[in-house]
Symmetry: C2
Subunit: 331 residues, 2 copies
């Protein structure tokens, strides 16, 4: 809790100043390709990311809601969990999520490792327990070998599981978008309209929150600064953790990388059209009513933020054994 | 219906004679690697196989129940469908399914193309409609281009959709298992126990039904020939189609390729241990009570049928547009 509150405070300070200090004078920096230092751990993490046996039903994996075929998201307003339960909030993309200052919309997990532990044990998501998840993996000799090779011990722990998943997720970056090509000096990478959209994005103040390599993810901000955000979604943001009125509707600013792929938008997933999302943001956060032409330009710019999607070879998962606890899809 | 009934009749005749006629005198033949003649169609089919927008919820794809990470199956007794509805029967593996004489346990689809149309529109599976599925694809320019390139027309049809899915599924073969290496002459590919298991498998009569490259899939047979099969599953097999008492519990013989990966077993998914499945089959189909040692040998042989799993690069799916009908996960 303390860490989160500090992070929030620091990030608010940072938000208005950080981008102005970057050497290339642009508030957005290119995404660097992933540097893989421990390929065995990343491969193990990939298996676990696609592992439905980390759920009670044996049906839901990390990839179910953070689908790497669809921008690392499920493209649903809120997610489908165990027994078709409806999740409380829009599933954020896993792509470039290692760049976030904290994880979850309210930042309640300090990092990807801490985040990964959440859904496994959440009764409305994967509905399993850490103990059972580990028991499943421990019952499968191939997993025992892989964990041993990476962590040097015969005993698998949830700490290893989430560490490996996080190591895989850290590789899920999307470099070389057209915008990044432009940032790196290719003047022909953007059209005139897209460039005008970027200029507008800067001049009207979007960059106050959407800056850095992830074009967001670096601060918490109040949703509905100038005008309140109307929603039926009960999420209170950081206030849900701190209980403080001042933190109501304070959410981590989402990345705009690959935003074309990660509809529907906002923590409640209420807006499907990127045009509408831009319109709402300009009005509620900046007190500005944009023309359709201005919105079109900004949307054109935003679509240049779609980067190279991670090329994933589907992992082949080792079979359960006679000792593996069985899934309980309908139990 | 007529075609199915004929296929059933013909296959029953075939079952006892076909394998004896094979040139190498073995009732099982090696699996040949897939020959891809139309890579564009296969790639499109792969996208559709992983496409959750072919379901009402936007959450379920072919790969949800025929998971290529887990032997082309979901490793559940019966599958989870829209709104977490429980399917009526065990999802057969998609691996090597092109070798089946017909599709579904009761053979009600003549081929993979016909099969692929079923789950999309089945209200307890993907719960969509063919019209809506096509409407979704048609609204996405990248799909329009891909279908145009493959089928030469601007108008996507469900026929194209299922044709492309089937073309992809035809590539999902698992060649080069240790057993196939042995069949091709590598005498060291099998251990003594595995080879003894194979000899038993032949001598006690398993090969009467489990023959050919798929080690099954080539005939319909009555489940519970010698002794009735006890199950709470209401499926009637081919009788569900023909209404004939004689067709009660007549099911397509499942492939034993990759059987180590495709638990739980039988049309009701009631048996998780391969040992138990072998025991039940020997008693009910062959009137033979095997010793634990015999079962162990046959299981050792069966595990040599695990072949090279298809290496799948996860497709990147094109985003929906403002015109794309929206998923209705909870509607």
């Amino acid at each position: 809790m303390k860490k989160t509150a500090l992070a929030v405070g620091a990030s608010l300070l940072l938000a208005t100043t950080a981008w102005a200090m970057k050497p290339n004078n642009e508030p957005i920096q290119p995404i660097e390709p992933a540097v893989i230092t421990d390929p065995q751990k990343v491969e193990l993490g990939k298996m676990l990311f696609f592992e439905p046996r980390l759920s009670k039903s044996g049906f839901i994996s990390c990839n179910s809601c953070h689908n790497l075929s669809t921008g690392g998201s499920d493209n649903l307003p809120t997610s489908i969990g165990h027994n078709w339960q409806e999740g409380p909030i829009n599933a954020p993309t896993v792509l470039n999520s290692s760049m976030n200052l904290a994880q979850f919309w309210d930042g309640r997990a300090a990092d990807l490792k801490e985040q990964a532990a959440g859904p496994i044990a959440n009764p409305i998501e994967m509905a399993f327990s850490h103990t059972l998840a580990v028991e499943v993996l421990q019952s499968i000799p191939q997993y025992r070998e892989l964990f041993k090779a990476v962590y040097g011990t015969d005993e698998i722990t949830i700490d290893h599981v989430t560490d490996a998943i996080a190591a895989f997720e850290e590789t899920l970056v999307t470099p070389n978008s057209r915008f990044d090509q432009w940032l790196r000096g290719d003047e022909n990478a953007l059209t005139k309209t897209e460039l005008e959209g970027y200029q507008l994005f800067k001049s009207i103040g979007c960059v106050a929150c959407h800056y850095g390599p992830a074009v967001g993810g670096a601060s918490f901000q109040k949703m509905g600064l100038v005008e309140p955000y109307q929603t039926t979604n009960p999420s209170q943001g950081v206030a849900g953790l701190t209980g403080k009125d001042a933190d109501r509707f304070l959410f981590k600013v989402p990345t705009l990388r690959n935003v074309e792929l990660t509809y529907p938008y906002f923590h409640d997933g209420a807006y499907w059209r990127l045009e509408d999302a831009v319109d709402v943001m300009a009005r509620l956060q900046l007190g500005r009513k944009l023309s359709d032409e201005e919105i079109g330009k900004i949307v054109a710019f935003l679509k240049t933020l779609t980067g190279e999607q991670p090329q994933i070879t589907l992992p082949i998962l080792p079979p359960s054994t006679n000792d593996t606890p069985r899934p309980q899809p309908f139990g």
